[in-house]
């Protein structure tokens, strides 16, 4: 459905993205994951034909985004990061206007406006001025306009940014539903969000794609090097050497926190050593005060992936 090859875009002398390649199959939900400034928005803007890439080529359903821009734009629904709304229009008149711009026949517009108002739960706000709507509702109006013309491809840039947690949950399930019928490309900097909604994830960092996999595989790969945080009552030097002896432990760091001795244990891929640790501690007559797994934050993942790349 979407095929991007060698995408590069420069803002002035600095590349926002460099040599980005990816493909999206029809009906797939693809997530771009990356910190702010990684090049997500740039990629989305190129996909939607808002700006052309400095180098490289994107085709959507066989149409070139630059050469056959109008054909592409007819097939894409787009929700930019800053939800673009005419604040002095009402919800209905805004949606009708967007429908006309998308070249929909008038009869369809009426029907579809009702449909999307229904889908996005905007029934009570039909004739409200957009200026008066809360951020969450504006977001819904933004999504409503993106799906209005039943596009083949839906491009959503940070669709859940800046809205309250309940609305985030609703928006995510809405996108998930949409993904059943349409090809969806979305961007986010929230890992759980992407792993919840997307079938495939591209991790983008400093304009390069550093990883590409299903959320499941990605999580497995990343969890393979899990960390444990253990608090042990005992002489630190001996504890350290004892812990390092245990099979499956890759490294141990020790910190003293106000009479508490905390050890951060990095594990080898797939190893589960909790049992061994507790046995060893008890066998030596020390006390095991606490033990917990420390999940990796998105930051850790980026650090890992980018340093792995460089090595």
């Amino acid at each position: 459905m979407i095929q991007a090859t060698g995408l590069t875009h420069f803002y002035g002398p600095n590349p926002a993205i460099e040599d980005v390649n990816f493909g999206v199959k029809r009906g797939e939900v693809l997530g771009f994951l990356g910190p702010n400034g990684a090049g997500k928005t740039t990629t989305m803007r190129i996909l939607t034909g808002f700006m052309p890439p400095t180098r490289g080529k994107v085709t959507l359903d066989g149409y070139d985004v630059v050469e056959q821009s109008l054909d592409v734009r007819r097939r894409v629904g787009y929700l930019p990061e800053t939800v673009p709304l005419y604040t002095d229009m009402t919800v209905t008149s805004y949606l009708k206007y967007m429908g006309t711009l998308r070249g929909m026949p008038s009869r369809n517009i009426k029907r579809r406006v009702e449909d999307v108002i229904d889908v996005c739960h905007l029934e009570d706000y039909r004739s409200s001025l957009i200026a008066k709507l809360s951020k969450g509702f504006r977001q819904r109006v933004g999504i409503a306009q993106a799906i209005l013309h039943e596009p083949d491809v839906l491009v959503l840039d940070e669709p859940t940014i800046g809205i309250d947690p309940i609305q985030v949950v609703e928006t995510r399930s809405l996108i998930k539903d949409l993904g059943k019928q349409q090809t969806v490309v979305l961007s986010s900097h929230i890992l759980p969000e992407v792993s919840m909604i997307c079938e495939r994830v591209l991790i983008i960092h400093e304009g390069h794609i550093v990883a590409e996999d299903t959320p499941g595989n990605l999580a497995e790969r990343l969890q393979g090097s899990d960390q444990l945080e253990v608090e042990i009552g005992g002489p630190p030097d001996e504890v350290l050497s004892e812990l390092r002896e245990i099979e499956g432990v890759s490294s141990v760091r020790h910190r003293s926190l106000a009479n508490r001795e905390v050890y951060t244990i990095r594990l080898l891929q797939g190893a589960d050593v909790r049992d061994d640790i507790s046995r060893a501690v008890i066998a030596r007559g020390w006390s095991l005060l606490s033990m917990q797994s420390v999940g990796m934050t998105l930051e850790d993942i980026f650090l890992r992936l980018t340093t792995d790349e460089e090595n």
């Binding site: 109008l70 005419y86 206007y97 006309t100 711009l101 998308r102």
Partner: protein, 241 residues
């Protein structure tokens, strides 16, 4: 064509529901009314006042220079500020359709405002016996003149996301074009002729005298088309910046 209509219709609705446009329109009517009345009614120093719209046309040519930038400044600049331009340019709409639609909306508002001055004509016809020729020619000239001023405002509104900057730059360009007559006076020969021909006002005065010269009509049409063309290019250039 349908998208041009949709864009124009949306902007027209905004014009007629926003106070700014009404204030601008009211100022135009109030000021031109003063010019009209002064020319027709005042007898002091003018023992034989003429039943003509010349006072109105001369006054309107100045007021339009202030009015046109106020009408156009919002059109594209605001879309850039709000980010709605991103949606507009990713809709299956050609850039020229956006420009023409918005331009037609501003032209419509101008036409409505100018049409509201028809009561000057009615007053003259009821109370005097005006010569219809200069009146028709004057109105034609005024609309062409206003259309050109709006096209210049369109361009500056596209070049910035700041409405004030858009208005001030358009006003500057229009003032320069308005006062070329004076500048031409300091020159001689070919340069004087060129500067004279560039001016937006020097082409207007024949209309006011009741002369419809093709040369002037062509001038306004070409200048308007030129600025609208530049506007389309400016809008396209945003994709590359």
């Amino acid at each position: 064509m349908r998208t041009v209509q949709a864009v124009a219709w949306k902007e027209i609705q905004i014009y007629f529901s926003s106070p700014t446009a009404y204030i601008v329109g009211l100022i135009f009517l109030a000021m031109t009314g003063v010019f009209f009345a002064r020319d027709v009614v005042q007898t002091q120093g003018n023992p034989f006042p003429e039943a003509s719209l010349s006072g109105f046309f001369q006054g309107a040519s100045i007021i339009l220079i202030l009015m046109a930038p106020a009408l156009t400044m919002r059109l594209v600049a605001e879309e850039q500020k709000l980010g709605t331009i991103e949606l507009l340019l990713t809709s299956p709409v050609r850039d020229w359709e956006v420009v023409v639609g918005k331009y037609l909306a501003s032209l419509t508002f101008l036409l409505v405002t100018v049409a509201a001055t028809v009561y000057y004509v009615i007053l003259l016809v009821v109370f005097a016996d005006p010569d219809p020729g200069p009146m028709w020619a004057g109105y034609l000239g005024l609309v062409l003149y206003g259309a050109t001023a709006l096209s210049i405002g369109m361009l500056t509104s596209t070049l910035t996301s700041n409405q004030i900057v858009a208005a001030v730059v358009a006003l500057g360009i229009l003032l320069v074009l308005y006062f070329t007559d004076y500048a031409a006076g300091t020159l001689t020969g070919l340069p004087a002729a060129i500067v004279q021909e560039i001016g937006i006002k020097s082409h207007f005065d024949d209309f006011d005298r009741g002369v419809i010269d093709t040369k002037h009509v062509v001038y306004y049409v070409i200048v308007t088309a030129f600025f609208l063309f530049l506007t389309v290019r400016a809008l396209e250039s945003r994709r590359w910046r």
